[in-house]
């Protein structure tokens, strides 16, 4: 198993998390739209 060690150079800048959120939103929105459109097609199977 792994043992924790302090490794500050590897720790991300606190401000970088906002950028992470923006990047994920940019790819997440089209993906969510694609999933929504697919669900619209798939839902007939359950009617």
């Amino acid at each position: 198993m792994t043992t924790p060690v302090m490794n500050d150079a590897s720790r991300p800048n606190p401000g970088s998390w906002a950028l992470v959120a923006v990047a994920w939103i940019l790819v997440g929105i089209p993906l969510a739209w694609g999933i929504y459109k697919t669900l619209q097609t798939a839902v007939v199977l359950f009617r």
Partner: protein
């Protein structure tokens, strides 16, 4: 420009957040994943000249004359060759350029992939304008196919290096994008074709140009988002597991030129090929299979598909399309689910589950048809499709565990030739067995039963191949001197100075 793309230019600065790399990888994989959705263009392209109805070529017109003919429409089977070309060139380009990718870095590979994929769309648009099918084959099929291969493998090695603690989850996130690309691309293409169509055009030309531009920009954004971790980088608070902890995860490195000489490489090749062959076979026939097996029962009336009226058949076809859509959702969900789970279960055990559960489920499918249980039938194939996607998403981490991370991108590239083989083997097996059964007088509803048992047999081969995977023998590992030389060649020495 070349400097901007160089490997040493993309070494991350201290404090870089590794969670920025998966969305960059997703931007590329979501773009190239549209390859799965290209069938949305077949129908409009098959009446590109006739607009409302296809203009049929004269029966005596030869193959080459049809290739250059500008007065009659293309058949859907002719257009379908583009799909075959995609997967043949995906596998071959990944195999051929994998080593180059490791040397030059993921950003350059991502940019080249963007030019190939986006450029392929533009050449195809020109092909539609001039009505030359060979330009579509060359543009999207060959050049675009090379973009697929390069784009597909471009983030793999980088993600594994950024997430040594969660290799499966990291590659699963990217490869999930490849499964999800068609979910965005197909409805987008429909929207664009409807927007651009006129009484004299089916709107495909303009859609190709628009989508080529969109994908080009998205892929460039992804490529420029790639960063490599500095040498010896580790996530904060994590140390590698002890070498003796798990023999199936090596801390050493195997050179790509040695990797394909190992039995492990060919066993994994068989594992991937069998898993993908079975899954592709199901994907290709999912909609007609549901319709033929259950016929009128899908809309609450008795009777086989052939006995239904035209409007009833249309209703059944809509349900078939819904089934195919549902399977695609499970396909992408399986990529992230199984790949993440493999970080805890181990790769060998994960594939053990794929194959053992897969054999049971494929064998159970004819039973679900016999007892006319639509929910059981649908559930069986949903689980099967998660394991199809999971197989793709887990294999890069399996390779990294066995061969080390140094050349995992290039080794993965070579392994993808198994996908090319499966892309031919799976559909051919399924279609020929079905036709053979029907020719022998087996009713359409039962014609898939033998197919299911044969697909289960493919999984038996995969099961034993996976079972035979053992740690790589000592003689295949790189020595410290070889590793130092390799790192020098890979510009890592320059990065250390920088």
């Amino acid at each position: 420009m070349a400097g901007l793309l160089a490997k040493e230019r993309i070494i991350a600065a201290p404090g870089f957040n590794r969670w920025l790399v998966p969305p960059a990888a997703l931007a590329i994989h979501l773009s190239i994943g549209m390859a799965y959705g290209f069938s949305v263009f077949w129908l409009p392209l098959s009446r590109a000249i006739g607009i409302t109805q296809p203009v049929v070529c004269p029966a005596d017109m030869g193959f080459f004359a049809r290739m250059f003919a500008t007065t009659c429409d293309w058949k859907i089977s002719t257009l379908g060759w583009m799909y075959t070309l995609f997967f043949v060139f995906l596998g071959s380009s990944a195999a051929v350029f994998g080593r180059w990718l490791e040397r030059e870095g993921p950003r350059k590979a991502g940019v080249v992939a963007a030019f190939c994929w986006g450029g392929g769309f533009l050449l195809s648009a020109l092909g539609v304008h001039l009505h030359q099918i060979w330009m579509l084959w060359l543009g999207s099929g060959v050049i675009g196919g090379c973009g697929l291969g390069l784009g597909y493998i471009s983030p793999v090695s980088t993600l594994i290096k950024w997430f040594p603690d969660r290799r499966g989850m990291a590659t699963g996130m990217a490869i999930m994008g490849f499964g999800g690309g068609a979910m965005i691309g197909s409805p987008l293409a429909n929207l664009l074709m409807n927007h651009f169509k006129t009484p004299t055009s089916v709107g495909v030309l303009e859609t190709f140009v628009a989508m080529g531009a969109i994908y080009f920009v998205a892929m460039l954004c992804g490529a420029f988002g790639y960063r490599l971790p500095p040498p010896e980088w580790k996530p904060a608070g994590w140390t590698p597991p002890a070498p003796q902890g798990n023999a199936m995860i090596t801390q050493r490195q195997v050179h790509v030129s040695q990797a394909w000489r190992t039995p492990q490489f060919w066993l994994l090749w068989a594992v991937l090929c069998m898993n993908v062959s079975a899954g592709i076979g199901v994907i290709g026939m999912s909609s007609p299979m549901l319709q033929e097996v259950f016929g009128g029962k899908l809309i609450g009336i008795a009777g086989a598909l052939k006995d239904l009226a035209e409007d009833q058949r249309a209703q059944v076809a809509t349900i078939g399309a819904g089934f195919a859509a549902l399977l695609s959702l499970f396909n992408i969900a399986g990529r992230i689910f199984w790949a993440s789970l493999s970080d805890y279960l181990g790769r060998k055990r994960t594939y053990f589950v794929f194959f053992s559960l897969g054999i049971v489920l494929y064998s159970l499918a004819p039973f679900a048809g016999r007892i006319e249980s639509v929910p059981l039938f649908v559930a069986i194939f949903c689980v099967i499709l998660t394991m199809y996607g999971g197989g793709f998403a887990t294999v890069p981490a399996y390779l990294a565990d066995l061969f080390g991370t140094l050349h995992v991108g290039a080794i993965h590239g070579r392994l993808l030739t198994a996908w090319s083989m499966a892309g031919i083997l799976g559909p051919v097996l399924v279609n020929y067995i079905r036709e053979f059964q029907i020719a022998r007088g087996v009713p359409n509803a039962q014609a898939y039963n033998t197919t299911m048992y044969i697909l289960a047999a493919l999984l038996v081969i995969g099961f034993f191949s996976n079972l035979a995977v053992k740690p790589v023998a000592e003689r295949y590992y790189m020595t410290d001197a070889e590793l130092a030389t390799e790192r020098q060649l890979a510009h890592e020495a320059a990065a250390r100075k920088g």
